[in-house]
């Protein structure tokens, strides 16, 4: 069944996709069978290419020849069209096994020999189900249609060839080859190539929030080498031909080239492509040419349907349904055999019509007749009901105010609609650490440079204050004002977090920096000349690295994302800079700044460059006369020089070795800024103060980056702006510098680091700054050869840094190491050549790029390390404790260091003070295997000693002590291998918690899969970042934390919450409720069907197994479809076995559903048995009361039906734990509808329902006391046992539960108080059984029917 379901779903998504293309709307006038045509279009046959010409350009003919098969930009996400809705919808629906079953029954009824009812009647269930689903589909489709219409009719400015200007057109009229002009904040209507940007550097920024939820700006580059006329782009002159790959759904890859009319080919990359539904930011005007439109855009091709997961309960249900099928077949076979035997023993009866049929054949016919008669036994409507119930449950989850985050104004997102009840059965919870347990609000805490630790005490104090404030804010839930202009900006850009970001600098470090900046300070600060100047170099390099080694995009808060900060840059035109550069190039200081790399390593480069700078300044001031600010600089200059000379001495030894290595190249630097910086001393302070005033907004891909940039800013190394080729940086003592950016080797999880290759602004060398995970960087940082002293220093630094790293990790800080490497020109050239090759390669590009990056990132010089604090989210320890008490094993899977992870685990109370840590760090597989065995023994031993000690020692202490396994990535790799899997699982099963550190995304998902498959438990994975996606998808329930790392996790999750603490309510309350409700509803549904169908079955014993029924067929069909269909739905949506408060207060209650106790097979059979009993009572009491009398068929059925209805409804009352007015109303309506229907039927239906004519039956029956007498005793007798056993069960269990050790005294006392409180709140004086379903009572539960 589930298989079928799945197949059906697959087919549907497939159909959806096909339909998206196949029934593509022809609003743009293109032929309808587009997709079919494209299948055989020459482009696809000739290769995976698409050629695009300008639509309105001079290549009309080529355009028409080539583009006629390209789709227009109109989209149609609807599945159906108005006219074809009914056939298509029917077609869709009959892919479903359930509907096919109904169809089969309906058709079966048309076979004359087996016909059971009138032909129309068996169509009714089918019709009802089809109609309900069709209406649902139609509504959904209509919404999609409206949405499509809205999107299709958005306006956009498209270049019109005739009018030679941009005219407004609808999105749907945009075609491939059109030129589109977009302004800032407009949404891109189709995938297009960026041809022009108003930005002088030819970049434009886009926000991809609509695609992947990432709110940071991404840069896109104009295609180089386009003919521009006077800086403007003219579509008329666009003669180029674009060749690119055929539409695909890969966001991150785009390949192609543009061939100009001159024959020059320009490669096209992903960063020339503007994707549909992204938003233009920060750029005034953008012009692009459409290359993919409509459904061929990457955004649309990535549009997949909702997630479909089959919940465990549904799988269980499928087995139950199979049992029902078995039951049905048994009943039908009984009837068939019975009929054959009966027929054989009867000779020449007047009441048998076709006596010619041999008994065996008649029995065979009866088998099928009975299938029709007893069709309701298969609870097909259950599937529809479950879907409706889940929607209702989702509605309530979605509306829970406790799962609403006021700060973000976000509710819980329920993305998967059909696994609500799985939330109630979670046994293993896998959590990411960063952003999930913690805020992911990275704040710079401390750092270590040159092996010297800067503790940042002030900073720590500030953080504490912030934490308190934040907590208070979180508790009072005051709605913070959103930054008005751009509401979609991520949280950490909010004012309050901004203040948190501001780092209080460490005085020591400031002093050192100042010493560098303000030369007036005496030299004595430094201990030894060499080391201090070296240290200074390190410090400046360190901060420069912090500032530039990132992918942060800068925008100004005053005009967010619109005006590029560069606008206020004092940069002059390119020409001027070039001229300046030419003047500098012969600088007498060249020798100082161009040292060979290994010499440079030991030398204070920044210092030399300071000299260099100064020299240039001097040069400048003298050579470029009337400069307004020259005069200001004079006072400080002398002293500056003084110090430089002093320091120069220090450097001389190393510098002397230096050879000439070419002139300094494009040191793009502005004279004016240099002047300011040279103004030095007192001026500097004010200068920076003013800088701090205008808020720069940093938008980083990861919060770590932002934290580091902010930290650097606190030390006045400010990132001011960024373009594709350069970075604008303020440096203390130097001022605004433009750093030429040669390459960014972006972060990836394999390398675990990122690098930037820049040309150093001062020395002009090619420098690689690398920032990454400490383990990686420490491995890559190599001791330079040669110079002993340098080696010694380096060793010392590494040693010290490692020490600091360890201490940071113990503190729970996230550590990042910063390193650098100076490349010689030739070295760089060599690397560059291969890198370009890698970049331009079409196949294996990613691998080649990775390899290229790895080639570069070697022999690094360790500069220092940073410690970033990431606070725990509020109520995380409480949540984890509650989850653990609920019997959920919490695992932490993190990429962080072991110490950091353990520390966080302590902080969130995953680790208790008595817990025993088992660390698994193994180097080889054998070691790992041996170690696992050892640990297993240890755990076993430990547990034995614990259990032995239970009686002797204090109970509480021993029970709270348990084992925690900490395993690192490498060991995990071994442990996940097939031979060791079982050992690992065995071991981890015995541990209270497992912490996997240094784990890759792949490992995370492997762990989840291992546990899920090996232990056959329900797993839940929660994470917030892209690295958690695979884990989230692997787990039975995936929860995304909508945090700061984009929306990938949310997009792949089933539920998305904004805080970790929401998990406790989601699981403990909603999960419990949903599971409880659904499990009970399913049981009830099965009970109802079995009970009612059995009535018909018992009758077969008295009608010669002829398939006769004692009811009117309409009543029979409607009984399930109408009269008793709504109450179970209400039951499934609204029932609450326990109030939310107590579920939260006593998480142990959650354990019940763990073992699927509610829906164990025996519960199913108890239910079925009870149904059998009730049907026996319900049939045989009327039978004995009426036997031998002159009762007619329908008159006999009347009390049976009525009492069956009463029993079914009252059974629900007994079963449900809450009765609200809605329940009462629905129950009354159900009962009323039955009696109303049969009475009206018996009054007005004279010949409407042949042959079982109901006229007068019910009216007569209900006017007789016998009817009521029978109904009364039948109902009471049928419900008596359940009522009795339930009372017994509850009474016995209740007291037992209270005595059980599961709730220790304090807890139960607390609980009691809460309950009292709750009860008072619900003033009705309810009697509330606290421990209805309390754990630990399996033994007694077996004997109990409930």
């Amino acid at each position: 069944m589930e298989r079928l379901h799945w197949v059906w779903h697959r087919c549907q998504t497939l159909m959806g996709r096909e339909s998206g293309q196949g029934w593509y709307s022809s609003t743009d006038g293109l032929p309808n069978k587009n997709s079919l045509d494209t299948q055989c279009s020459p482009h696809r046959v000739s290769g995976k290419r698409r050629t695009v010409f300008a639509h309105q350009g001079p290549h009309q003919h080529e355009y028409e020849a080539v583009s006629k098969n390209y789709k227009g930009n109109a989209i149609r996400t609807t599945k159906y069209r108005l006219l074809t809705f009914i056939p298509m919808n029917l077609f869709q629906q009959f892919r479903r096994a359930a509907n096919l079953y109904f169809l089969f029954l309906a058709l079966l009824n048309w076979v004359p020999v087996v016909e059971a009812f009138q032909k129309e009647i068996t169509m009714i269930p089918l019709l009802v189900v089809l109609t309900v689903i069709a209406i649902k589909d139609a509504l959904e489709d209509y919404r999609r249609y409206l949405y499509d219409k809205k999107v299709n009719n958005n306006d956009v400015r498209v270049f019109c060839g005739k009018q030679k200007e941009y005219v407004e057109q609808c999105w749907k009229d945009v075609r491939v080859g059109d030129f589109i002009c977009l302004s800032c904040n407009e949404i891109i209507p189709a995938d297009m190539l960026l041809l022009y940007s108003s930005d002088p550097r030819g970049v434009c920024y886009i926000e991809t929030a609509n695609l992947d939820g990432e709110t940071n700006l991404k840069q896109r580059q104009v295609i180089p080498g386009l003919p521009l006329q006077g800086g403007e782009f003219t579509p008329e002159n666009f003669h180029s031909r674009i060749e690119c790959e055929n539409p695909n759904n890969n966001f991150s890859r785009f390949r192609g080239y543009m061939e100009h009319s001159s024959g020059v080919r320009v490669g096209l990359h992903n960063n020339n492509l503007l994707l549909r539904s992204c938003t233009i930011r920060n750029t005034e005007t953008v012009i692009g040419i459409v290359i993919y439109a409509g459904h061929e855009t990457k955004a649309m091709m990535n549009n997949s349907g909702p997630r479909y997961k089959c919940s465990h309960l549904e799988k269980r249900l499928n087995t139950d349904v199979l049992w029902c099928v078995a039951l049905l077949i048994i009943m039908c076979l009984t009837a068939a055999v019975g009929h054959a035997l009966w027929l054989k023993n009867i000779k020449d009866p007047v009441f048998v019509i076709d006596v010619e049929t041999p008994p065996a054949l008649a029995g065979f016919y009866i088998f099928w007749t009975m299938i029709i008669v007893l069709q309701v036994l298969i609870p097909i409507s259950l599937y529809v009901s479950i879907e409706i119930v889940k929607l209702g449950q989702i509605y309530f989850i979605h509306n829970d105010i406790d799962l609403y985050n006021e700060l973000l104004d976000s509710r819980i997102q329920c993305r998967a609609l059909n696994i609500t009840e799985d939330l109630g059965q979670i046994q293993y919870l896998f959590s990411d650490k960063t952003g999930t347990l913690t805020e992911n609000n990275m704040v710079f805490r401390r750092c270590s440079i040159f092996g010297v630790e800067y503790p940042h005490e002030e900073n720590a104090r500030r953080l504490e204050v912030c934490a308190v404030e934040n907590k208070a804010a979180g508790h009072t839930m005051t709605l913070r004002p959103q930054p008005e202009p751009v509401p979609s900006t991520a949280t950490w850009k909010e004012p309050h977090s901004l203040s948190e970001k501001e780092v209080v600098p460490d005085p020591e470090l400031v002093k050192k920096l100042n010493w560098f900046c303000s030369p007036v300070l005496p030299l004595k600060e430094g201990s030894s000349g060499t080391s201090s100047s070296l240290e200074l170099t390190y410090i400046t390099d360190f901060f420069l690295a912090l500032t530039i080694c990132n992918s942060v995009v800068v925008s100004s808060s005053s005009q967010p994302r619109h005006v590029v900060p560069e606008a206020r840059m004092p940069l002059k035109s390119l020409e001027e800079i070039k001229m300046m550069f030419q003047r500098f190039s012969f600088s007498p200081f060249t020798a100082l700044s161009t040292l060979s790399p290994h010499q440079v390593k030991g030398s204070p480069r920044s210092f030399t460059s300071r000299l260099f700078t100064r020299g240039k300044t001097e040069f400048l001031t003298s050579s470029t006369p009337p400069n307004s600010s020259t005069s200001e600089t004079d006072p400080g200059k002398e002293s500056n020089l003084e110090t430089s000379i002093l320091r120069d001495k220090v450097d001389l030894p190393s510098q002397e070795k230096g050879g000439n290595s070419g002139p300094v190249e494009d040191d793009i630097k502005d004279a004016k800024t240099t002047d300011i910086c040279c103004g030095a001393g007192p001026d500097l302070e004010t200068d920076y103060d003013s800088d701090a005033d205008d808020d720069l907004l940093y938008e980083a891909e990861s919060p770590d980056e932002a934290a580091l940039v902010h930290a650097a800013r606190a030390y006045r190394c400010t990132l001011r702006g960024r373009s594709a080729e350069s970075l604008l940086v303020d440096l203390p003592g130097i001022g605004s510098l433009s750093v030429q950016l040669l390459h960014i080797l972006p972060f990836d999880s394999n390398r675990r680091r990122m690098s930037v290759v820049v040309r150093h602004p001062l020395t002009g060398q090619v420098v690689v700054y690398t920032k990454g995970a400490d383990s990686v960087i420490m491995d890559l940082a190599e001791t330079p050869k040669g110079d002993d002293q340098a080696q010694e220093i380096d060793c010392h630094i590494k040693e010290q840094t490692q020490k600091h790293l360890d201490s940071y990790a113990r503190e729970g800080l996230r550590t990042l190491c910063i390193a650098k490497k100076v490349l010689e020109e030739e070295e760089y050239e060599v690397w560059l050549r291969r890198h370009v090759l890698a970049e331009s390669s079409i196949d294996h590009r990613e691998e080649l790029l990775l390899e290229s990056a790895e080639r570069l990132e070697t022999n690094l010089t360790l500069l220092g390390t940073t410690g970033i604090v990431d606070r725990l989210q509020e109520e995380v320890p409480e949540t984890i404790e509650a989850l653990q008490r609920a019997g959920i094993k919490v695992w932490i899977l993190t990429g962080d260091k072991q110490e950091t992870a353990i520390n966080i685990a302590y902080a969130c109370k995953l680790l208790g003070p008595y817990d025993q840590l088992l660390r698994a760090n193994c180097g080889s597989k054998e070691a790992c295997s041996a170690f696992l065995d050892e640990l297993k023994l240890e755990v076993q031993h430990g547990q034995e000693s614990l259990t032995d000690g239970v009686e002797a020692e204090d109970h509480e202490e021993s029970s709270s002590r348990s084992f925690i396994l900490v395993i690192d990535g490498k060991t995990l790799d071994w442990a996940l291998q097939e031979e060791l899997q079982s050992d690992f699982v065995e071991l981890s099963r015995k541990c209270k918690a497992v912490i996997c550190c240094r784990s890759t995304p792949l490992q995370k998902s492997q762990v989840v899969r291992l546990i899920r498959d090996q232990l056959r438990v329900m797993t839940l994975a929660v994470g917030d970042g892209a690295n958690d996606v695979s884990m989230i998808q692997m787990a039975d329930v995936g929860i995304g934390i909508s945090g700061q790392e984009g929306l990938q996790a949310v997009m792949s999750s089933d539920f998305a919450v904004s805080r970790f603490k929401h998990l406790s309510k989601l699981l403990l309350v909603h999960g419990h409720w949903c599971y409880f409700r659904l499990a009970n509803m399913i049981l009830y549904f099965i009970y109802k069907n079995v009970m009612y169908v059995n009535l018909l079955f018992w009758y077969q014993f008295f009608c010669g197994f002829s398939g006769s029924v004692m009811t009117n067929a309409w009543v029979l069909i409607f009984f399930n479809l109408l009269f008793t269909s709504i109450p179970p739905l209400i039951y499934g949506i609204l029932d609450r076995d326990l109030p939310a408060d107590s579920l939260m207060a006593v998480p142990e209650l959650y354990q019940n559903s763990h073992t699927s106790k509610l829906h164990l097979p025996y519960m199913f059979w108890i239910t079925v048995l009870d149904a059998f009993y009730q049907s026996l009572i319900c049939f045989f009491i009327p039978y004995f009361a009426l036997t031998g009398s002159d009762v007619g068929v329908l008159s006999f059925g009347s009390p049976i039906n009525a009492s069956a209805l009463l029993i079914v409804l009252l059974h629900q009352v007994l079963e449900s734990h809450t009765l609200t007015w809605i329940h009462v109303l629905v129950l009354l309506l159900s009962g009323g509808s039955y009696f109303g229907f049969v009475l009206l039927f018996s009054v007005y239906c004279v010949t409407c329902s042949p042959p079982t004519n109901p006229v007068g039956v019910e009216t007569l029956q209900m006017s007789q006391p016998l009817f009521f007498i029978i109904c009364a005793i039948t109902t009471v007798t049928a419900l008596l046992p359940r009522m009795f056993f339930q009372a017994l069960h509850n009474t016995v269990l209740c007291s037992a539960a209270l005595n059980s050790s599961h709730l220790d005294k304090v807890e139960s006392e607390k609980y009691r108080q809460r309950m009292q409180h709750w009860n008072r709140g619900h003033s009705k004086g309810n009697r509330l059984s606290v421990c209805v379903d309390n754990p630990g009572l399996e033994a007694s539960a077996a004997s109990v029917v409930s």
């Binding site: 949404i187 048998v352 104004d409 809450t1218 010949t1247 009705k1324």
Partner: protein
């Protein structure tokens, strides 16, 4: 209620979809309404059944059921019923020969006489039933084999009976009226009852054949074709009588012209198919003559049977039943016993629960929530 929640969900789902597709974010707060319904805090009665709660219910049921049961039992016992089997299975039974020599085609009716003695007088109205056993009037194909529109007097159905009537739909090209197997197998024994007084005089007991069918059947469901036209012969022109019938439908009751055609009450009674294979059907009513004399005084009676209906072939039995009735119908001690039993069981369970309640409630009290 369902629809509204469903819609709300859809909107939400769609909303997120829209957001992911480029619609500008709505500035409205997404905070859920803090209503009792949405937060699932509706005032609710929590019927958690414990011994304490259920206890009174059990006793109440016991208290109600016992007297009802006793009442029913007494009523049932007061009903007088007499039953006699006249099938003629045994050699010594008077109808043996009739039963043996039966054929549907015989023109001369076979008559047999059964003597019986009523020990007790029947005081009130006496209902005379014929009872059939092992006669499956509820067989699926049999039950369906009728045409209600034809019986409703529909002229087109009279000429073209429903297919359900097969194989008793047409006879020699003429439509059968009334068609179908039920009509065809109409019970056609004639029963006459005579009282033999002690002095030997034989009194015919007047058997009333009106008022034996349901009012709705007689007046609503069954109608002769052609409305109130008295000339049934014309109305049933061009129709054939059912195969097993000796007389056409318009000559069913020679004594009363109103009681002919489809509205013949014996026919109507027969057409209401019995629920169980052993059943009785009302045949005649013996009205009470005066308040002083019993309707049927005790003594000897003779039952004259015109034996037309074969049941032996399928092991059936025919009976004649005389019964008085009460407010709860005919004689049936089952309900009374059932009520008494269930009432007693309830009491018993109540006591059990009381014990359990006492045993467990003491411990319970410590943590039970005061109500």
């Amino acid at each position: 209620m369902m629809a509204s929640s469903y819609n709300a969900k859809e909107e939400d789902g769609h909303h997120s979809g829209a957001a992911s597709h480029g619609g500008p974010a709505v500035a409205k707060s997404k905070k859920p309404d803090n209503t009792a319904f949405k937060q699932q805090r509706l005032l609710a009665w929590q019927p958690i059944l414990t011994a304490g709660t259920v206890l009174p219910a059990f006793f109440v049921i016991g208290i109600f059921f016992l007297p009802i049961g006793i009442g029913l039992f007494v009523t049932s016992n007061n009903i007088k019923e007499f039953e006699i089997d006249y099938t003629g299975v045994d050699l010594d039974s008077p109808c043996y020969s009739c039963a043996k020599n039966f054929s549907w085609n015989s023109t001369t009716p076979c008559v047999c006489t059964v003597d019986f003695t009523l020990e007790q007088p029947f005081e009130s109205n006496v209902y005379m039933y014929y009872g059939l056993s092992n006669f499956y009037q509820n067989h699926r194909r049999y039950v369906k084999s009728r045409d209600d529109s034809q019986l409703y007097g529909d002229l087109s159905s009279l000429k073209e009976p429903s297919k359900e009537c097969e194989p008793y739909r047409k006879r020699d090209g003429l439509p059968i009226a009334p068609c179908g197997a039920i009509a065809n197998s109409l019970f056609n024994d004639t029963l006459d009852l005579y009282h033999i007084e002690s002095n030997g005089t034989v009194n015919v007991i007047p058997l009333v054949n009106r008022g034996i069918a349901w009012w709705t059947d007689k007046h609503v469901k069954f109608r002769n074709p052609g409305g109130n036209n008295n000339n049934l012969t014309v109305a049933f022109q061009d129709t054939a009588k059912p195969v097993n019938w000796r007389k056409p439908v318009y000559e069913l009751d020679p004594t009363d012209l109103e009681n002919n055609g489809f509205v013949n009450e014996d026919f109507i009674v027969w057409m209401r198919t019995a629920a169980l294979p052993t059943f009785r059907k009302l045949y005649r009513i013996i009205h009470k003559k005066s308040s002083t004399t019993p309707t049927l005084p005790s003594g000897r009676y003779v039952l004259n049977i015109t034996y037309n209906y074969p049941v032996l072939s399928f092991d059936g039995r025919k009976r004649m039943i005389l019964s008085t009735i009460s407010w709860m119908g005919g004689k049936n001690p089952f309900l009374g016993i059932a009520y008494i039993t269930v009432g007693s069981i309830c009491f018993l369970l109540g006591v059990v629960l009381l014990i359990i309640h006492h045993k467990y409630d003491n411990r319970n009290n410590s943590a039970d929530i005061p109500s």
